[in-house]
């Protein structure tokens, strides 16, 4: 009996190793609403890794990959506001704070509090935000919306266009994670 229990314990421990999930097609979309106009842009190539054993999450997205409908707007976004030649990426590094309430290895829908450091335009800031994780069939879907104050990240809006761009931008994040196969 004892040997069986010990064997089971060892097997369980091995099975409970770190399991990482990733995506290279994460969606990040931001939206600015003002009385003058609505501005929207999306990237479909964000990368993210999530560690199911401890809730650690990492995100990275290339600023140049954000697509606007209007070419000129995309140019201004990159050259004047984001200075993407200097700061080509935006990153997030954090964890699920309420990991004790969540098991990403069991199918279900989980409400999480994600906390961590967001870096945009070379400026790092601690943020926290709710997110929803849906686990089904070995895959994890994550959804979240955050609000970001442009001024917090040193992004200046010239007074000429201050009525065209909202001070606070809404960012939508979506990822369909798959198991990171180390083979």
């Amino acid at each position: 009996m004892r040997i069986t229990l010990l064997f089971l314990f060892i097997m369980l421990s091995l099975g409970v190793g770190a399991q990482k999930y990733f995506t290279k097609a994460g969606l990040i979309s931001f939206h600015s609403h003002s009385s003058m106009e609505d501005i929207e842009a999306t990237s479909h190539t964000a990368t993210s890794v999530i560690d199911a054993s401890n809730g650690a999450i990492q995100w990275a997205v290339l600023i140049k990959s954000f697509e606007f409908e209007k070419a000129l707007m995309q140019e201004h976004f990159n050259e004047n506001y984001m200075e993407s030649s200097k700061f080509p990426k935006a990153k997030f590094s954090g964890t699920i704070a309420n990991m004790n309430e969540i098991n990403l290895r069991v199918d279900g829908t989980y409400k999480a509090n994600v906390e961590g450091e967001l870096e945009i335009h070379g400026v790092k800031k601690r943020i926290s935000s709710p997110a929803t994780f849906t686990v089904k069939g070995g895959k994890i879907e994550a959804n979240s919306k955050i609000k970001v104050l442009l001024a917090d990240y040193g992004i200046d809006i010239p007074s000429v266009v201050k009525d065209n761009i909202a001070k606070e931008i809404e960012i939508t994040i979506k990822a369909n994670y798959e198991v990171l196969d180390k083979s």
């Binding site: 097609a25 479909h44 190539t45 997205v61 290339l62 990959s65 995309q74 030649s85």
Partner: protein, 132 residues
């Protein structure tokens, strides 16, 4: 003075129209753009792995034409991407396609993809890509 009013109004109207068109201009079709750089997939990855900042300075926002082997075709909700084998190990080149309603190459096929370089995360990422 009165004689000048009509030409001035026309000039202002023309200026406004040009401004409006420029503001609302959409992206040019990648197929119509000339590639500034033509290289093999492995070469692009090597440059990025050796010195990312230098590679960014060279390739960011430029139209590049990359010859390589299709490692996989990733169909997403809104976009399809062709992944070219980076030939160097872990990193590859993800080419997000401009259009989704095109015939896609198969795994193992040799292709040349033209797209706009946006940088390097786990792989080099090209957007608005077309298969040449």
């Amino acid at each position: 003075m009165k004689k000048l009013i009509i030409p001035i109004v026309l000039l202002v109207a023309a200026g406004a129209l040009i401004g409006y068109k420029m503001y609302n201009k959409e992206h040019a079709d990648t197929a119509s753009l000339d590639a500034k750089y033509k290289l093999k997939a492995g070469e692009l990855i090597s440059e990025y792995e050796e010195d990312e900042a230098a590679a960014d300075a060279k390739y960011l926002d430029k139209v590049v034409s990359i010859a390589g082997v299709v490692k996989s075709v990733e169909k997403g909700e809104n976009h399809t991407a062709i992944v070219l084998d980076g030939e160097n190990g872990m990193s590859n080149i993800i080419c997000q396609l401009e259009k989704t309603d095109i015939s896609l190459p198969k795994e193992g096929e040799k292709v040349t993809v033209k797209g706009i370089c946006t940088g390097y995360l786990m792989d080099v990422v090209l957007v608005r890509s077309v298969v040449e």
